[in-house]
């Protein structure tokens, strides 16, 4: 039982990070209809900026957190304005491809601006180990799970009750009609990019806190994207839960079947789930017009 609990907690902790990044994917998909292949890279950049702040400005956890959020917002807005907005109205394929080009640039900027060595993010928080019986958890891991849950609730409320949130759903459903109602699609898109960058960035910073920073961190995107699909591409909350599910599955598979199976287990589960629900667990089936 203890063995299981320990696996479950570790799975939740890594799953929460996947979930945060997966929500980043879903926010952009929901409001722009695009898959952002540079999500992992944006996450990585935000984490690196947080690290830079912690080493050059202050290691205070609040300063780092606020700095990282501002950096993530700016990153999202700049990318939307400079890279994505000019592609408005172009074929979806070409636009998605642009995010792949963007990913190449962002990935390279790590070694260009920083270096290829691993670094640890030290903000005087998150490293402490809390022991409950023989089960050990780091405070950072607890914090990331809590953050995910809080964000899930906040995002749910945002989409349900705020005018802008409803507008994002409207743009997602029918952007042309939204335009006719005076909803500025560009502003909604900009907001989506900023929000996605922040949510995923939080995941990245927590990753840096629990593990380490390295130029290979962008691969988190590759783990989070399946989580998004699992939850449903257009389901922001579902994506967050999808991340948790993948984290748990991986850890249970790694703990009970064998370590080699860890990475594959998530994918196997996705195939199985999609066979039953072809649009993700929480995704909306699109109604086809004949």
């Amino acid at each position: 039982m203890q063995y299981f609990t320990q696996l479950l907690i570790s799975g939740l902790a890594i799953g929460a990070i996947y979930g945060l990044i997966a929500m980043g994917f879903a926010v952009i998909y929901k409001s722009t209809g695009l898959v952002n292949f540079a999500q992992g890279e944006m996450t990585m950049i935000t984490a690196y900026i947080a690290w830079t702040i912690s080493t050059t400005v202050s290691g205070n956890v609040f300063i780092v957190a606020i700095g990282a959020i501002i950096a993530a917002v700016v990153l999202g807005l700049v990318i939307e304005r400079v890279v994505m907005r000019p592609m408005l109205g172009e074929p979806v394929f070409a636009t998605v491809m642009v995010t792949i080009g963007l990913a190449v640039i962002l990935r390279s900027s790590i070694n260009f601006i920083w270096d290829a060595y691993p670094h640890g993010l030290d903000v005087g928080f998150g490293r402490t180990i809390v022991r409950i019986g023989t089960i050990g958890v780091r405070t950072g891991q607890i914090a990331v799970i809590v953050t995910l849950l809080v964000l899930l609730a906040a995002i749910w409320a945002f989409f349900r009750y705020s005018k802008v949130g409803v507008a994002m759903r409207a743009v997602a459903a029918d952007d042309r009609t939204a335009l006719l109602m005076g909803i500025s699609a560009t502003r909604v898109h900009a907001l989506a990019w900023a929000a996605s960058s922040v949510i995923a960035g939080i995941g990245g910073v927590f990753f840096a806190l629990s593990y380490d920073l390295s130029p290979a961190m962008f691969q988190l995107g590759l783990k989070a994207f399946p989580a998004t699909i699992l939850g449903g591409l257009d389901a922001v909350l579902g994506s967050g839960l999808g991340g948790l599910l993948i984290g748990i599955t991986e850890n249970l598979a790694g703990g009970y079947i064998g370590s080699g199976m860890k990475e594959v287990a998530g994918f196997v589960m996705i195939i199985v789930v999609l066979m039953i629900r072809p649009f993700g667990i929480f995704g909306e089936r699109d109604i086809e017009r004949v």
């Binding site: 898959v35 172009e90 636009t95 792949i100 990913a103 190449v104």
Partner: protein, 348 residues
């Protein structure tokens, strides 16, 4: 006066090459490709080889993603299965290279039936993710099946000798790749203009309508997977031979993304686009390297260790700018030029 293409019969519409100038240029191109291996140095020749090998793979993916509209994020899975099928048959069991190539097509084709099955239910990115999952699962299977694949150690592959002709030299091997590329091109062009190809496109454009029209969606989608995997597997075998060493490491996931990039940059759904896209994407790093070397001295002084990354950034930037100004790909550019040429001085 020439007033564009005017076709009177269905036969004319589906002929492969419909005008003498195109015949002429095709012949010139083939002749140039035949002479090239004897003129180019082995560095330049290596690009030609990579282009020809990649064209085969891009054409394979084009059948699935370009024609039928089924996005694959895991085509590297078929590439690696093809390479391993060839390596195991030829290097491990000493079979004839032709049997090796046959296996390199058939094994991925069989695997594609398994991957294709979800496509009967899934669409768009949901399907894309299962193909992605497939490519990861295939890698794990290869690494686990040590008795067959040598696991992570990989298998060394010699350049083949077929019917007494050795393809060991770079020039000879280029001809072999050229042969496969031409075959793949004809195969895909013929598929496109056949009944099957029209069904593929119908499925891509509107699968519900296609079904209403009486197209057996399941059969055609699976068929698209099978042909696509067969051709891609051949490309994998050639790639393995080119690398002289088949291992999971040699086929990174990024190849799947690069293959999609080729199709989109070339122009989705067009065999010509796949060819043009391949040339662009393969030569782009070399082009950025050349631009880079112009300023190399200063840059090295300025950035030292990080300087190399600028090259990759330039590569990403070129892709973005290209799509910004030519979102319909090289084929789109080609049509624009042609239209301008035909309609000049009018715009339309």
């Amino acid at each position: 006066m020439r007033t564009g293409d005017f076709k009177q019969t269905y036969g004319e519409l589906v002929t492969l090459i419909d005008s003498p100038p195109i015949w002429l240029w095709s012949v010139v191109l083939v002749a140039a490709l035949i002479v090239a291996p004897h003129v180019l140095n082995s560095y330049a020749l290596s690009f030609l080889m990579i282009i020809l090998i990649t064209v085969v793979g891009a054409l394979g993916l084009n059948i699935l993603t370009g024609y039928t509209g089924l996005i694959s994020l895991g085509h590297v899975g078929f590439l690696v299965t093809g390479a391993y099928a060839y390596a195991i048959l030829v290097s491990k069991y000493q079979m004839h290279p032709l049997i090796g190539f046959l296996g390199a097509g058939v094994v991925p084709a069989l695997a594609s039936l398994v991957v294709g099955a979800p496509s009967l239910r899934l669409k768009g990115l949901y399907l894309a993710i299962t193909t992605l999952a497939f490519s990861f699962i295939i890698n794990t299977l290869i690494l686990e099946a040590r008795w067959l694949t040598n696991g992570a150690r990989g298998i060394s592959v010699q350049r083949p000798e077929i019917f007494g002709i050795s393809f060991d030299g770079d020039a000879a091997f280029t001809y072999l790749c050229l042969g496969f590329a031409v075959l793949a091109l004809f195969a895909t062009l013929n598929i496109r203009r056949s009944r099957v190809g029209r069904a593929f496109v119908a499925i891509r454009d509107n699968d519900t309508a296609a079904r209403v029209m009486g197209i057996n969606l399941h059969a055609y989608k699976l068929f698209a997977f099978v042909t696509s995997a067969f051709i891609t597997g051949l490309s994998g075998a050639l790639y393995g031979i080119y690398l002289s060493f088949v291992s999971v490491e040699g086929f990174p996931f990024l190849l799947s993304i690069e293959a999609l990039a080729i199709l989109i940059v070339g122009g989705l759904g067009s065999a010509l686009g796949a060819v043009l896209g391949t040339i662009l994407i393969v030569l782009l790093p070399e082009a950025t390297r050349m631009v880079f070397s112009l300023f190399s001295a200063q840059m090295d002084a300025m950035f030292t260790t990080g300087a190399q990354e600028l090259k990759s950034m330039l590569y990403g930037l070129v892709i973005i700018l290209f799509l910004r100004f030519q979102p319909r790909g090289l084929v789109g550019a080609w049509h624009d030029i042609r239209r301008m040429w035909v309609n000049w001085p009018l715009r339309y």
